[in-house]
């Protein structure tokens, strides 16, 4: 597929961390089938160290949605929650070596889904994180200020 680069294709064809963690410490969902993309992420967190020990995704969506979901889970596993909260869509896209311009705004849902999962974890465990300040998991869409226009 000329549309996607080799790395994106690899993450799409052989996605890492597919599935749903049973009894996950945190679950986040973002997007909707009506919009064309919907991602669910589940995480396991070591409550002492706040390190994300496992993450799995399920995504309804196009190639870039699946590839970026897969990349996102890879990126947060082993990170602390605070570090994971700093993972941006821009970084995910950069790790993927770029996406077609038109795909950038629509099908990269991971940073919101990660935040939602951590929000869920934080709520369940009565924790607060600077990176979650002002975050509303049910908000419609966040302004993606620093998303590059063309990559």
């Amino acid at each position: 597929m000329a549309m996607y680069n080799d790395k994106v294709m690899d993450y799409f064809l052989h996605p890492h961390n597919v599935g749903e963690i049973e009894n996950a410490d945190g679950t986040g969902v973002y997007g909707s089938p009506v919009c064309g993309d919907m991602m669910q992420i589940t995480i396991s967190v070591d409550k002492d160290t706040d390190v994300i020990t496992d993450a799995k995704f399920k995504t309804f969506g196009c190639g870039s949605a699946i590839a970026s979901s897969s990349m996102a889970t890879d990126m947060i596993i082993g990170k602390t929650v605070e570090e994971a909260l700093n993972v941006s869509n821009k970084q995910i896209i950069e790790e993927l070596g770029g996406l077609p311009a038109i795909k950038i705004h629509c099908s990269v849902l991971a940073d919101h889904a990660i935040k939602s999962a951590i929000y869920d974890y934080a709520k369940k465990n009565n924790k607060t994180y600077a990176g979650l300040e002002g975050f509303d998991p049910d908000a419609d869409d966040e302004e993606q200020e620093d998303t590059p226009e063309h990559i």
Binding site: M9, F12, L13, P15, G36, K58, T59, G63, I66, I102
Partner: protein
């Protein structure tokens, strides 16, 4: 790897017989058909023969067929030419919600410049209702444009009836028959249309050639201005090789029409049957009654079309999708939307079109791959049959 092309509605390969007839027109019979000397008139004769063949296929008079550069140009011509020539009569155009973008975007452009455009709805099977046309007609309506065969779901519209309604009110009737040519019988006289658009590359002819049927006496301005080509109706040096190819393709389409329809539709029906048998949660979109013989538009619930497309591509299988993801505008198919199909289902819809080179083995291979791919994507998906949407 096996290659299975199932996107004949997008375009078709040029048939060998067609290319063979085209070849001499590139470097030998290369004259300009407007030139009076033999080399030019030889090229003009090729164009004339092609015109006769296209005319014959649609039962038109030869001098009512005008070559264009594509189906889109013919569609534009109908919209801009009629609204210009009949501007004194009125500024209202009627078309449908499921037309090709060549029609819709022409309408959109005109509607920003003083023309009012009414879009007729279709029912959930994809059919325009004649009563709706009757109701939409106004005293200032100058053009009714309804496509013969839809490009996404293959629905065939009741053009004869619709044209009669338009004519009862003295309104020019155009039909985009780009998907119809070679796939359903077309008799412009019987249908009673004034204008009809065609495209070569959908009937195993080359890309870059189209045609407009223009009934004698139709009030329509020119669209491409310049030299006196095409009886001074469409300027620009003729794409002679392309036109000759279109002519040959038209001749073949006429010869093969019955067998083409029979073969292609039986393969298509077989394919739908196999898909339904092997894959749960699928929906066939559009009516099966009066439909493009090769078209199967199928929604695979809970997954998204672009993903299916890419995974089929990995298997050498080529199809298209109504998914927003794979359109440049990110809008889901306006046709499926007009049929009332829920957006989440549109995202998972795939258009398969069977054509003259498709074999049963191709389809078996496709069903096999498709079964695995759908299963895989449903496993990855965040929605599924149990959870529901």
């Amino acid at each position: 790897m096996r290659q299975v092309y199932l996107d004949y509605s997008a375009t078709t390969p040029v048939k060998k017989e067609v290319l063979d007839e085209m070849l001499p027109y590139f470097s030998e019979k290369f004259g300009n058909p407007s030139s009076l000397y033999d080399l030019g008139q030889e090229a003009a004769a090729g164009v004339a023969q092609a015109r006769g063949r296209v005319a014959h296929l649609i039962n038109a008079n030869t001098n009512e067929v005008f070559f264009t550069s594509c189906g889109s140009e013919a569609d534009n011509w109908a919209f801009f030419g009629v609204t210009d020539a009949q501007s004194a009569k009125g500024k209202h155009v009627i078309t449908t919600a499921i037309e090709h973008h060549a029609i819709l975007h022409s309408g959109e452009y005109l509607s920003k410049r003083g023309i009012e455009v009414t879009y007729l709805p279709v029912d959930h099977e994809g059919r325009v209702h004649p009563e709706d046309l009757e109701k939409a007609i106004r005293p200032d309506t100058v053009l009714v444009s309804v496509m013969l065969v839809n490009n996404e779901v293959g629905t065939v519209q009741p053009i004869k009836e619709l044209a009669a309604i338009a004519h009862k009110h003295g309104i020019t009737f155009h039909s985009d028959a780009v998907q119809g040519l070679g796939n359903v019988p077309i008799d412009v006289k019987d249908l009673g249309v004034d204008l009809m658009s065609f495209s070569s590359h959908k009937i195993y002819g080359p890309k870059g050639v189209g045609a407009m049927y223009m009934k004698k006496g139709t009030k329509i301005s020119n669209y491409l201005h310049g030299g006196a080509q095409e009886s001074a109706r469409r300027a620009g040096t003729e794409n002679t090789a392309g036109i000759v190819g279109f002519g040959k393709a038209a001749e073949l389409a006429e010869q093969n029409l019955e067998s083409h329809i029979k073969n292609v539709s039986s393969l298509r029906d077989y394919f739908i049957e196999q898909v339904k048998k092997n894959i749960p949660d699928v929906i066939v979109n559009g009516t099966m009654d009066g439909r493009h013989p090769g078209n199967a538009n199928i929604t695979f619930k809970y997954i998204e079309g672009e993903s299916i497309l890419i995974l089929l591509n990995e298997k050498g299988i080529y199809i298209s999708t109504g998914s927003a993801c794979s359109s440049k505008s990110l809008a889901p198919s306006h046709v499926l939307t007009a049929l009332g199909i829920p957006v989440e289902m549109i995202h998972g819809s795939i258009r398969f079109t069977v054509g003259d080179f498709t074999t049963k083995e191709d389809l078996d291979y496709t069903v096999e791959c498709l079964t695995d791919i759908v299963k895989h994507l449903r496993e990855i998906s965040s929605v599924n049959a149990e959870k529901g949407w």
